[in-house]
């Protein structure tokens, strides 16, 4: 049974550079170096504002994956990237990912508050702990710290950053002496229009969820099914309540990979064409990383062997995301596909994040169903290709949601924190 919720959903766009599909760069709508073109980035911001969207997100990590066939591994530094976009926009929120492992909390606190000040209070920090040896080697470390250590550090890192943001308002020095950091000093940056940046958290591990419950105001989740999403929604909101916070103080926005068309057939054709134009080795490489097993060694026409789906043998050294892995394993167990079938299915159902292929009307139905079902506060939509996919969201999906009373017609609030607070309250759970 579903209770109707009042108020509106939150809509964010996860800007995976040119789009989540590797072949996004091949369209004649883009130049070969659009991923570093200021006009490309500011046009994304302006298009998002035309649809009164809540926020644009950027993933990040201090390392380079092979960009041979794909613009996705290319990373302009997010506070600079969104700082430039902020100057071309006035209302859309801007979420920048930054690592708590490969930064100094004093520098990050000063930079993020400065950037928040410059955006007029539209900034958020998405806290990640960063995986992967290549990142470690850019910082003189042979390998990344174990997961537990990364999260203990992240937790203290966030505390130092928040205390420093507070010092900007009070002018009182922070005196922090912890396990990882010793900081005596304060920021001299003016508080922003929203006081300080919003904090996001994106990991699905138990440690990540606990951190989210304590400090995050937004969670970028990775749930594949509605039931999983409801469970996660209640779990994280419950963590917030356990920490003496209101469940409304933390908004849950799962990612949703999208291919949209004016008919379902057209959407599938678009998705197929974009997939076929990309390298086939990608899906196998992606699956290997996500499940912690070399998928090129699997028989393509056999189901997944049990030892691949069982518990991780060594979670501490697993380089993938535990939340993604759980979602994928649950999905495979549900239908027991062959490896080839699974790789083909993920074209339509997503890879790690849930996927959606269909019409804007069908997407509105999906959003409405999950919203009223108490599974989400909103979605972080991830178009296959942004240069033409974002406009479909803004000009076709958003008007449908508005007609259904699920989305605002004009911006009614100015800062990102105000956008969040104006969204629908948490249903009883």
């Amino acid at each position: 049974m579903t209770n109707r919720r009042s108020g509106h959903v939150l809509l964010g766009i996860n800007v995976l550079v040119l789009g989540y599909l590797p072949a996004a760069w091949k369209t004649p709508l883009l130049k070969k170096d659009s991923f570093v073109d200021p006009d490309y980035w500011s046009s994304l911001g302006k298009t998002a504002e035309r649809g009164t969207l809540d926020a644009l997100f950027l993933a990040d990590g201090p390392l380079l994956g092979d960009p041979a066939y794909d613009a996705n591994p290319i990373r302009l530094e997010p506070t600079v990237n969104w700082g430039q976009v902020a100057a071309a926009t006035s209302r859309v929120g801007l979420v920048a990912t930054a690592s708590s492992t490969f930064n100094d909390p004093f520098e990050l606190a000063e930079r993020f508050l400065s950037w928040d000040h410059q955006t007029g209070g539209r900034a958020a920090w998405n806290v990640v702990t960063t995986r992967g040896v290549p990142a470690a080697r850019n910082f003189g470390l042979p390998d990344i710290p174990f997961r537990d250590d990364r999260y203990e550090r992240a937790s203290e890192f966030v505390d130092v950053v928040r205390a420093l943001w507070e010092s900007a308002a009070t002018s009182d020095d922070v005196h922090h002496h912890g396990e990882f950091f010793n900081v005596d000093g304060r920021l001299r940056v003016p508080p922003s229009k929203q006081g300080r940046p919003v904090i996001f958290q994106a990991g699905g591990s138990p440690q990540g969820r606990a951190l989210a419950g304590r400090v995050a105001e937004g969670v970028f989740a990775a749930e594949l099914t509605k039931n999983q999403a409801i469970e996660h929604y209640r779990l994280v909101k419950g963590f917030a309540r356990d920490n003496g916070r209101s469940p409304d103080d933390i908004k849950i926005l799962p990612g949703l990979l999208l291919s949209l068309g004016s008919t379902e057939e057209e959407a599938r054709r678009r998705s197929d064409e974009l997939h076929d134009a990309g390298p086939s080795s990608y899906s196998i490489g992606w699956l290997s990383q996500a499940i912690g097993y070399d998928a090129s060694k699997l028989e393509l026409d056999e189901p997944f062997p049990e030892d691949v789906l069982g518990p991780l043998k060594d979670p501490q050294s697993f380089l993938g995301s535990i939340g993604f892995r759980e979602s994928i394993v649950a999905q495979i167990r549900k239908t027991n596909p062959t490896v080839r079938e699974y790789l083909k299915q993920t074209r339509y159902t997503g890879s790690g994040h849930a996927g959606f292929v269909g019409t804007p009307e069908q997407l509105a139905d999906h959003i409405e169903d999950w919203f009223h079902g108490g599974a989400i506060d909103g979605f972080n939509l991830q178009p296959d290709r942004l240069i033409d996919g974002l406009a479909v969201i803004v000009d076709e999906l958003v008007p449908i949601l508005r007609r259904r009373g699920l989305y605002r017609h004009e911006y009614e609030t100015e800062t990102l924190r105000e956008h969040f607070r104006a969204a629908s309250p948490t249903p009883p759970f």
Partner: protein, 307 residues
């Protein structure tokens, strides 16, 4: 003898003032000065002012809200790592059309020092770090330059027939091992306008940069450099200089600074046409490429074949 150019130096409070005022921004953008140092007080030995902003955040605003003005962001390795610095430097160059560069300082007036045994970058708590001295800052500058060059811009081919976006086998590791150990490569390509201009601040001869074979410093500001800094209200030094940085004190306003700059430009300083890259405006040649052979970061991409 060539006529010296004029550049501007802004302290913390001016960064807040300039970026919060559209009229000032337009006036700044139209001024034919060589460049503006964003937050010179962070690195020139000044006491911290009441307010400031991180220089790269101001640079990002200028990249998006102005078209012509050139600028140097200021940074130090005191609480920051060269990989992170290089990312912001390269990103600003892309997004400003090459109007940006970086002034790397030894100490950060607005930040506490890290732990005694490693006051530069040691505060990050990762077990690394270095002394807070000119050698560390210089090593950071070398790393920023190498990282910006680790991914050649012309490797971006966007060949729709072969499916190859980037000839990624031309991207190299930097394998730096000095005050910092950095494998690289950087995760953004070299700016289309080339690697960013790297400047240094030297009030006295003791502050001049160390020298190495691959010297990344192209511009030395301050009394011991080729571009002295003159406080607003004082007269410019006579002759024999490349340019000057006219620097406002914290009690003076951006409007005061722009008034004087306009007067001096009308009275003997060489105007430098607004717009275009900082490197071109300063007539600096492209830096030497990374020494080869360097370790390739990725295998040569093969043309993509559909299944």
């Amino acid at each position: 003898m060539t006529t010296p150019y004029l550049a501007l130096g802004l302290a913390g409070p001016h960064l807040v003032e300039l970026t919060g005022n559209r009229a000032l921004l337009s006036r700044w953008d139209a001024l034919p000065v060589a460049f503006t140092v964003l937050g010179i007080d962070r690195v020139d030995g000044s006491a911290p002012a009441a307010v400031t902003l991180t220089s790269s955040a101001v640079g990002a605003t200028l990249a998006g809200s102005t078209k012509y003005g050139r600028f140097l962001i200021t940074t130090t390795p005191q609480r920051d790592h060269p990989y992170n610095i290089a990312r912001r430097v390269a990103s600003l160059a892309h997004l400003s059309g090459g109007r940006s560069g970086v002034l790397i300082g030894v100490r950060d007036a607005y930040a506490p020092e890290g732990p005694k045994e490693a006051p530069a970058w040691g505060g990050a708590g990762l077990g690394g770090g270095a002394p807070l001295n000119a050698q560390t800052a210089y090593d950071a500058a070398r790393a920023v330059r190498a990282l910006e060059q680790s991914w050649p811009h012309d490797s971006i081919v966007g060949d729709r027939d072969t499916g190859i976006l980037v000839q990624s086998n031309r991207i190299v590791h930097v394998d730096i091992d000095n005050s910092f150990s950095i494998a690289g490569p950087l995760n953004a390509p070299e700016p289309a306008t080339g690697a960013s201009v790297i400047a240094w601040y030297a009030a006295t001869a003791a502050d001049t940069p160390p020298v190495s074979g691959d010297d990344p410093i192209e511009l030395v500001l301050g009394a011991a450099g080729s571009v002295p800094v003159v406080e607003l209200g004082k007269e410019p030094p006579a002759g024999g200089i490349e340019g000057i940085v006219l620097r406002a004190g914290v009690e003076q306003s951006v409007a005061d600074l722009l008034d004087t700059a306009e007067r001096w430009l009308a009275d003997g300083f060489a105007p430098i046409e607004p717009g275009g890259s900082l490197r071109a405006a300063l007539n600096l040649s492209a830096p030497a490429p990374l020494p080869s052979p360097a370790r390739a970061a990725f295998p040569a991409p093969k043309p993509h074949v559909s299944l």
